[in-house]
């Protein structure tokens, strides 16, 4: 039985968690509360607070406001404070471990078992402000497993069975094994939803379990959206670089979109799509895909083309958390949320800004030497 509740202490991973936290040189405080005081606090929902205190106690944010309780150590930071980024598709350290190719579909495979908390690749991701990632099944799978949400810096699983990953793009079509055609692929997806051995498909059809459907070309996206609408699925399309041209279908199916990062030299359709989706009120987020800085680069390209920086940051944080189904605990700076906080030298969506410090679950897990404000404890 998969546990779908929050695993705050991650009992399964507790032993490794103690050994992990790759970038943590020193814990910020030993279980004591502290407050970050910053001129700009980006909440993660699009709003920004001025001269605010973010009070952290243990692993969570205790309060956000104009003052901190007496006796709490205040760390004044010279810059901006924002929630840690959420990478919507990540496979760091799990290359080859997310594609179970012995079978066509392994819909109930648990991506948490592909998580290697000790992988050195996480450090660079954390250093770029990514505190939460969604581990998803390989793009070449049809129903490759249940996405797991993990905190790489803490080596903890945040949520298992977060979403069902479905492949409806040509990436799931092989040239050497069945299915080799869209018709064959669709037959598999359809059969899976109709047969439903594990009960997960029923939950997905009731909208209780989000789906992340990979679809790239406009035709694939239109089909995926129609399929989701027909079966009452909730969740997001992953890919859809031309989402602006299939907006009606995506909106009609009440899906969000998770964009793959722009790469140098790629066309600008992702940017156009992001702006169109934002205008239409369709939620969107970005994948990290193992390349640190990708998400912020893509968001910055969008703001340069006219996207509101608040909307861009929301897509990196609170909006992404909502799409991943952990909006109630992650992605925003508010009382009760996980203390995943990044201190930036400037606005997080400004590419000239750099990461000064990263807190994950209240612990300082990364700091840029000499740049952090006084009293950072290192």
């Amino acid at each position: 039985m998969l546990s779908l509740s929050l695993i705050a202490a991650a009992p399964l991973f507790a032993p490794t968690a103690a050994l992990s936290a790759p970038a943590a040189s020193t814990p910020a405080v030993d279980g004591h509360a502290f407050a970050l005081k910053a001129r700009h606090v980006h909440v993660g929902d699009g709003s920004v607070l001025s001269d605010a205190y973010v009070v952290v106690e243990g692993a969570t944010i205790k309060s956000v406001g104009k003052s901190a309780p007496k006796g709490v150590r205040v760390i004044e930071v010279d810059g901006h404070v924002a929630p840690g980024f959420i990478g919507m598709r990540e496979r760091t350290g799990a290359a080859g471990e997310t594609s179970e190719s012995a079978r066509k579909s392994t819909p109930t495979a648990d991506l948490a078992y592909a998580f290697d908390p000790e992988h050195p690749g996480w450090e660079a991701l954390v250093a770029n402000g990514v505190t939460t990632v969604v581990l998803t099944a390989g793009s070449d799978r049809i129903a490759g497993g249940m996405a797991a949400i993990v905190s790489p810096a803490r080596g903890e699983v945040v949520k298992r069975g977060a979403a069902m990953t479905i492949g409806m793009s040509r990436r799931s079509i092989s040239s050497s094994v069945e299915p080799t055609s869209y018709a064959g692929l669709h037959a598999h997806v359809k059969a899976a939803f109709e047969a439903d051995a594990g009960g997960h498909f029923s939950r997905a059809k009731a909208g209780k379990l989000p789906v992340m459907i990979e679809a790239i070309s406009r035709s694939e996206v239109a089909r995926a959206a129609a399929f989701a609408k027909q079966h009452g699925l909730a969740g997001a399309i992953v890919g859809a670089p031309r989402a602006d041209e299939t907006l009606d279908a995506i909106k009609g199916a009440k899906l969000g979109v998770v964009f793959e990062p722009l790469s140098p030299g790629s066309d600008s359709h992702v940017v156009d799509s992001v702006i169109a989706l934002d205008a239409a009120g369709v939620p969107f987020a970005f994948t990290s895909d193992g390349r640190p800085g990708n998400m912020r680069m893509t968001a910055a390209a969008c703001t340069r083309a006219g996207l509101d920086p608040g909307a861009a940051l929301r897509a990196l944080t609170g909006g992404a958390a909502a799409l991943a189904g952990v909006g109630a605990t992650h992605g925003t700076i508010a009382a009760g949320m996980a203390a995943d906080i990044v201190v930036w030298s400037g606005s997080p969506t400004d590419l000239t800004s750099r990461v000064h410090a990263v807190y994950a679950g209240g612990d300082l897990v990364h700091s840029h030497e000499g740049a952090h404000g006084q009293g950072a404890g290192h």
Binding site: E178, H186, R218, S219, A222
Partner: protein, 402 residues
Amino acid sequence: MLTSLILSAATALAAQPAAPSAATDGTSWTLHASKVYTSTGKVHENALVVVRDGKIRAISPGVEAPRDALRADVITAGMVDASARVNAGSLSVEQSSEVTPGVDAASSVDLFDSRWKRLAKSGVTSAFVGPLNQNVVGGHGVIVKTAGGMSLEERQVDGAKLLCGAIGSQPSQRNSPAFGRPRSFYNRRPTTRMGVEWEWRKALYDAAQAKDPSAEQSMLRDVLAGKTGLFVQAWATQDIRTAVFLREEMEREGFGTMRLVIDAGAEAWREPNMLVRSGTAVVLPPVPSQGRTTDQAFMALDCAKVLLDAGVSVALSAHDASDASERLDIQAGYAMRGGLNREQALRAVTLTPARILGIDGRVGTVEAGKDADLVLWNGEPFEATTRPVGVLVGGHLVLDPR
């Protein structure tokens, strides 16, 4: 009296502006041409064609053009390509089996493919698309309008059910070497034409004799019963024979009478009587530049003429018209050079393919009540200097003559 009534009605309709109002969703127009070729044999001169909500409302000959009408020298029905091949390439073929009647081209057809725009602007308004011709039995095809909405529901046209397949070198193209062992299913089981025919025969016999037919076998039974047409690509004489002989064998065995359409029948002209005897329609491929087509079949300009004279129902196709010189109107021009008169050539790209596809109730002629799929020409159609200057698909203006 009657004439004046018609005229006054026409004038009243003509008073509607050419520019559509927002309420009509851009699908209401008034068109005028010196000649309207209807594909029914009738030609209207100085005629007004009134389009309302995507349908042809009325045709009124002998009327002056209202100032704001869309004008052209000639108007014809939108062309129908019964073998358009705007498929998803290898992704439309389920290569794990030779016989895949369960495949539906509706699963793979990409309405965002840029070829649709090109087809529509070339005057083709309806098209039949099957899976790529790599399987013995490839799957069911889909009939779509070349323009309109971006979902299949909006674009698909209900017509004849057609199961696509191939006889010839294509289905055995990825032959295994003469020796050695197959590495994957790419080394196709049929490596010969004989093997391809055997696969066909086995699939049909198995379906006919199955006590508890599978879903796919039921589809083949519909083919045997003539409920689903069999759309078989066969370029060369020997392959066309094979298709006809298969049909005759099934009939002899008492399995049913198949409705056969030969697609890409380049050499159908060699033995037309066989086709007449079996009531088989032919869709001709684009005329090859060097006389030889795929499978070394020989095709000359008078192919359509020979078949038509023998009494075979003939439609022309431009396939995906990737080369501008292969457009469907140019194919009709070639057929005229081969001996067809304009009316015959026009029918071979409008009414005949519409009948083969079973959509002639909606498209294929210029008649009141039909879909407003219309082509506006700058001269007599199919002449070398004539081209489509305006195209309407379901009343949507995809090429503006103004």
